[in-house]
Symmetry: C2
Subunit: 204 residues, 2 copies
């Protein structure tokens, strides 16, 4: 690809750094760098140092692998949470999304990835043993599998099901179906079909 | 707006910083922050410090106001450039875009803004006196006005025209018309109308 020449090496380096981020091309990177240039020096210093502080200071919860500032995350440390339910998710972002709904009061288990032979990620690379340990040692009654419905997600769910099925707990998965507010005619066939198969009693 | 809670203060700060950039919302900011988290510490340090270095080290060309690492930008310092032509643009990005075309060999004059009473920017806030000086002192034969066709851009072009018209130089403006490869039927009426008005002899 043709690489644009910049009139300043410093500008070029800043653009290089911004465009190393996912989803940011060189045009956007230039726009962002020139935006920063207009800010007071203190703001830029705060901007730059926030990422260094994050990278150096961040910890992962001893229990569920969630990102945290201490050894145990705020969910695991909260005595009001239901400790009998663990929701297994792929990423930190999934936890934040579920927490945002304010509809879940149990604990989490962040895998940090899913089984993906194409990317060289096998079951041994994920903290699955730790999950089994948590179930065995704690008073866990239910594990909710909230992984994606991709090939890799389904494989991981199946693997987890096999690992957990002998432990005398309920293993559930989140409901899939037509989204609230979505039109049936614009819903893909697979989702619509599953939503009819998995129908449940009408509740008011 | 509802503000998402994060499990880590450090993460929240990093997300705050990213989402302070134009065009980056909190969801994208979270994605970017979590991306950085996976990088080696050295990369993050280089990332953060590049913007501080840019902000602290950047200079503006004494002559044309272009961003540069020294006192004079590479265009103004280049003896092979045509010093009789000055192209007036609004921003640094415009210079980079024109340089990218490799079709212009003259000098530039970066205004760093346009006359905009709504934003409280008057002619006195722009380096217009400096442009007049450059024309009077140098051996300038032509000034090309390459400002936008917005109300503010047109006002600024008109103001510059008035200031420069007594100086015995040619004052030109860039061609507007149907873009190369564009379909006539999808071109807006104003552009298409102007492109017919401003037709020129067919050249091979």
């Amino acid at each position: 690809m043709f690489k644009q020449k910049y009139s300043s090496q410093l500008l070029e380096k800043a653009v290089d750094e911004f465009s190393s981020l996912p989803g940011i091309g060189r045009k956007s990177a230039l726009r962002l760098a020139l935006h920063l240039l207009k800010q007071p020096v203190e703001n830029i210093e705060r901007f730059g140092s926030s990422f260094i502080a994050l990278r150096k200071g961040v910890k992962y919860c001893n229990c569920c692998n969630m990102i945290t500032d201490s050894d145990t995350c705020s969910v695991c440390a909260d005595s009001r949470r239901d400790r009998q339910t663990i929701c297994v998710v792929e990423s930190i972002r999934d936890v934040l999304s579920i927490e945002n709904t304010e509809q879940y009061n149990g604990l989490y288990h962040v895998l940090g990835g899913i089984i993906s032979p194409m990317d060289g990620i096998g079951p041994a690379d994920l903290p699955i043993g730790k999950l089994v340990e948590r179930v065995q040692e704690g008073d866990v009654k239910e594990v909710i599998l909230a992984l994606s419905t991709s090939m890799e997600g389904e494989t991981t769910s199946f693997f987890l099901y096999k690992k957990l099925s002998g432990l005398n707990i309920k293993i559930s998965t989140i409901a899939r179906g037509v989204g609230f507010g979505d039109d049936l005619e614009y819903t893909d066939e697979l989702t619509l079909g599953k939503s009819i198969q998995n129908r449940h009693l009408f509740k008011l």
